[in-house]
C-alpha cells in the first residue's frame, strides 16, 4: 500500500514538474515581449522612423537609415537566397535520385548549422577584401547564404506533402516531367513555399553577427548598394553596449520594431500553415 502510494505521489509530482517546465519555457517569451513593449513602447516616436542618428551627446534622432538599410539587405538576401533555395528544394523532391538527395539534404543541414559569424568571415574574404571596402551588397550576400539552407529544407518538406497521385495523374495525361513539376506540383505547394520564404527572411532580418564586418554600420543614409550601411540589428548591438542612456532608449525602440516584424512574419506563416493543414 505504501509502495503504491509512493508511486502515485512520484507520478503526480513528476507530471507537475513537466507542466512547470513547459510553463517556464513559454514564459521566457512573454518576459522578453513584456520588457520590449514597456521599454521600447515608451521611446518610440515618428522621429525614430524618419531621422538619422544624432551625433554622440545630442539627445533625439532616429534610425531611419537603419530601417532602410535592413530592407535593402533583406532584399539582396532574398534575390540570392530564395531562387537557389527553391531550385535546390525542387531538385531534391522532384528530380534527384534518392541517395544524391539525402546527401545534399545532409549538406544543407550542415550549412544551416554553420555559425553565422563564420559566414561573415567567409563573405569578408570573398567580397570585402577584393572590393577593398565594406558594402551593403556584401552584407546582403552574407544574409542570402544563411537563407539558402533554411528555405531549401522547409520548401522541400512542403513539396513532398503534395500527394504523388497528383504527379501520376499529370504524367498519365501525357504531361512531361518538367510540366508536371512546374505546372502541378510547384503551384500546389506555392502558398507553403511563400510561407517558407517569409520565415527565412524573418530569421535573417534579426541576424547581426554576419553584418558586423560585411555591411559594417553607417551613421548616414547609404545610397545604392556599394557603401557600408546601418541595419537595425547592428544598431541595437552598438547602442545597447554604449554608455549613453539615450542610446539605450533607442536600442529598446529598435528592438521592439525588429521583434514586432519578426514575430508578425512568424505568426502569419503559422496561420497560413494552420489553415492549410485544417483544410487538407
Amino acid at each position: 500500500m505504501t509502495r503504491n502510494r509512493r508511486r502515485r505521489v512520484t507520478n503526480t509530482v513528476m507530471l507537475g514538474l513537466t507542466a512547470c517546465a513547459a510553463l517556464a519555457a513559454t514564459s521566457i517569451l512573454f518576459l522578453i515581449l513584456a520588457y520590449l513593449i514597456v521599454k521600447g513602447g515608451a521611446s518610440i516616436n515618428v522621429a525614430f522612423f524618419t531621422q538619422l542618428p544624432r551625433p554622440v551627446g545630442e539627445v533625439g534622432g532616429g534610425m531611419g537609415n537603419a530601417i532602410v538599410g535592413s530592407a535593402k539587405l533583406i532584399a539582396i538576401a532574398a534575390c540570392l537566397g530564395l531562387p537557389l533555395g527553391f531550385a535546390t528544394a525542387v531538385y531534391l523532391s522532384e528530380f534527384a535520385p534518392p541517395r544524391v538527395a539525402s546527401a545534399i539534404r545532409y549538406v544543407l543541414d550542415l550549412l544551416n548549422g554553420v555559425p553565422s559569424i563564420v559566414i561573415g568571415i567567409f563573405v569578408y574574404a570573398l567580397l570585402v577584401i577584393p572590393m577593398r571596402h565594406f558594402s551593403t551588397v556584401a552584407g546582403g550576400v552574407a544574409l542570402g547564404l544563411i537563407i539558402i539552407p533554411v528555405v531549401g529544407r522547409s520548401a522541400e518538406e512542403f513539396l513532398r506533402t503534395i500527394p504523388s497521385s497528383w504527379r501520376e495523374a499529370s504524367l498519365a495525361l501525357g504531361a512531361t516531367r518538367a510540366t508536371t513539376v512546374f505546372r502541378v506540383v510547384v503551384p500546389a505547394a506555392l502558398p507553403a513555399m511563400v510561407t517558407a520564404a517569409m520565415l527565412a527572411l524573418a530569421r535573417v532580418a534579426g541576424e547581426t553577427a554576419p553584418l558586423l564586418f560585411t555591411a559594417l554600420n553607417n551613421r548616414f543614409w547609404s545610397p545604392g548598394i556599394n557603401q557600408p550601411t546601418a541595419s537595425l540589428p547592428v544598431m541595437i548591438f552598438t547602442y545597447a553596449i554604449s554608455p549613453y542612456p539615450d542610446w539605450h532608449r533607442q536600442a529598446w525602440a529598435a528592438g521592439l520594431v525588429l521583434l514586432a516584424l519578426v514575430l508578425a512574419a512568424n505568426v502569419a506563416a503559422g496561420l497560413v500553415l494552420w489553415k492549410r493543414m485544417g483544410a487538407g
Binding site: 507520478n11 512547470c20 519555457a25 517569451l29 548549422g113 518538367a178 558586423l212 548591438f237 545597447a240 514575430l263
Partner: protein, 318 residues
C-alpha cells in the same frame, strides 16, 4: 499536310525532352552550387588562416596569452569560455527542455500543446541580439544584485562561486544561452516523443505502470537517440552563438575558474576584434578561431542530424 504531322509530333517530343532535361539540370546546378558554397566556406577559412596555422600549430588552442599588441595569440581563453558557457547552457536547458517536451507530447491536451508549441517556435524566432539586449539590461543587474551574491553566500567556499561579482560573466552568458537553445530541445524532443509507437505506451500502462513510469521507463528510453540528437543540435547552436554571448560575457581574454568572472568566447572575440585587427597575423589568428568553430559545429551538427534521422526512420507511425 499529312507529311507535316509526324514532323510536328517529333518536334513536340524533342521539346518535351529538352524541357525535362532543362528542368532537371537547372535545378541540379543550383543544388551543386549550394554544395560548392559549403566546400568553399571550408576552403576559404583554411587558406585564410594558413600563416597562423603554420606559425602556431596545435599549441594555438592551448596557449593562454592573447595579447595582439605584443603579437601573442593563444586561443585557450576563448575555447574555455565557449566550452564553459555551452556546458552551463545545457545544464539549465536540458532538464527544462526535456520536461517541457514531455509535457507537450504526452500530457497536454492537443490544443494546449499546439499553442504552447507555437510559443516555443516563436521563442526560437527571437533574434539573438534581442536576447543580448534583454540579457544586458535586465538579467545582468539581477545577477549582480541578487543571484550571484546569494550563491556566494551559500557556496562561496567553492572556487566556482568565489571572487568579485560583476554581473557580466560566464554564468550570465550560460543563462542567456540556455534560453536561446531551449526551443531546439523542446521542439525536437516533442517531435521524437510523438514518433514513439502508441502500443509501447499502452503495453506499459496495461502492465500497471503509472503515467510517469511509462514515460520514464518506456517512452524516453525508446526515444533516447532522438532526444540526444536534439540536445546535440542545441549544443551546436550554443557553441556558435555570437551576439547574445558577446553582450553579456564581459570580453576579458583570460581564463578564470570563477563562474562570476568576465570571460570571452570564440565567436565573441571574432565579433569584437575582427574589424580592429590591424595586421595580417592578428586577422589570421581570428580566422583560425573561426575555422576551429566551423569544424567543431560541423562535427556536432553532423552527429546530431544522424541521430535524429535514425529515430525518425525507426519511429515511423504514431
Amino acid at each position: 499536310m499529312d507529311a507535316a504531322v509526324p514532323i510536328l509530333r517529333r518536334r513536340r517530343a524533342l521539346q518535351a525532352r529538352v524541357g525535362d532535361l532543362l528542368g532537371h539540370w537547372v535545378t541540379a546546378m543550383c543544388a551543386a552550387v549550394v554544395v560548392a558554397i559549403t566546400v568553399l566556406i571550408a576552403y576559404e577559412l583554411w587558406s585564410s588562416s594558413a600563416m597562423a596555422r603554420r606559425l602556431f600549430g596545435f599549441a594555438f588552442l592551448f596557449e593562454q596569452h592573447w595579447d595582439p599588441v605584443a603579437g601573442r595569440f593563444g586561443a585557450a581563453p576563448f575555447v574555455y569560455g565557449t566550452l564553459v558557457t555551452s556546458a552551463l547552457a545545457l545544464l539549465f536547458a536540458v532538464p527544462l527542455g526535456l520536461g517541457a517536451a514531455i509535457f507537450l507530447a504526452e500530457l497536454a491536451p492537443p490544443r494546449l500543446s499546439r499553442s504552447l508549441g507555437l510559443g516555443v517556435e516563436l521563442l526560437a524566432g527571437v533574434p539573438s541580439v534581442i536576447y543580448g539586449l534583454v540579457g544586458l539590461a535586465v538579467l545582468v543587474p539581477i545577477m549582480r544584485e541578487w543571484v550571484e551574491p546569494g550563491l556566494q553566500a551559500i557556496a562561496g567556499f567553492l572556487p566556482l562561486f568565489s571572487g568579485p561579482i560583476y554581473g557580466v560573466g560566464y554564468l550570465t552568458a550560460g543563462l542567456v544561452l540556455a534560453a536561446m537553445v531551449l526551443p531546439f530541445i523542446v521542439s525536437v524532443g516533442r517531435e521524437v516523443l510523438l514518433a514513439v509507437p502508441r502500443d509501447q505506451r499502452e503495453a506499459a500502462l496495461a502492465l500497471g505502470a503509472t503515467r510517469w513510469e511509462t514515460i520514464a521507463h518506456v517512452v524516453v528510453p525508446y526515444a533516447r537517440v532522438g532526444l540526444l540528437g536534439g540536445i546535440m543540435l542545441a549544443l551546436g547552436r550554443a557553441l556558435g552563438e555570437t551576439m547574445a554571448v558577446t553582450m553579456v560575457i564581459g570580453s576579458r581574454p583570460e581564463i578564470a575558474l570563477s563562474l562570476f568572472a568576465p570571460g570571452h568566447s570564440m565567436a565573441a572575440v571574432i565579433a569584437n576584434e575582427f574589424t580592429e585587427a590591424a595586421d595580417e597575423l592578428y586577422l589570421q589568428a581570428l580566422v583560425e578561431i573561426g575555422l576551429v568553430l566551423f569544424g567543431v559545429t560541423m562535427a556536432v551538427n553532423g552527429l546530431a542530424r544522424l541521430m535524429i534521422a535514425r529515430i525518425r526512420r525507426a519511429g515511423g507511425g504514431r
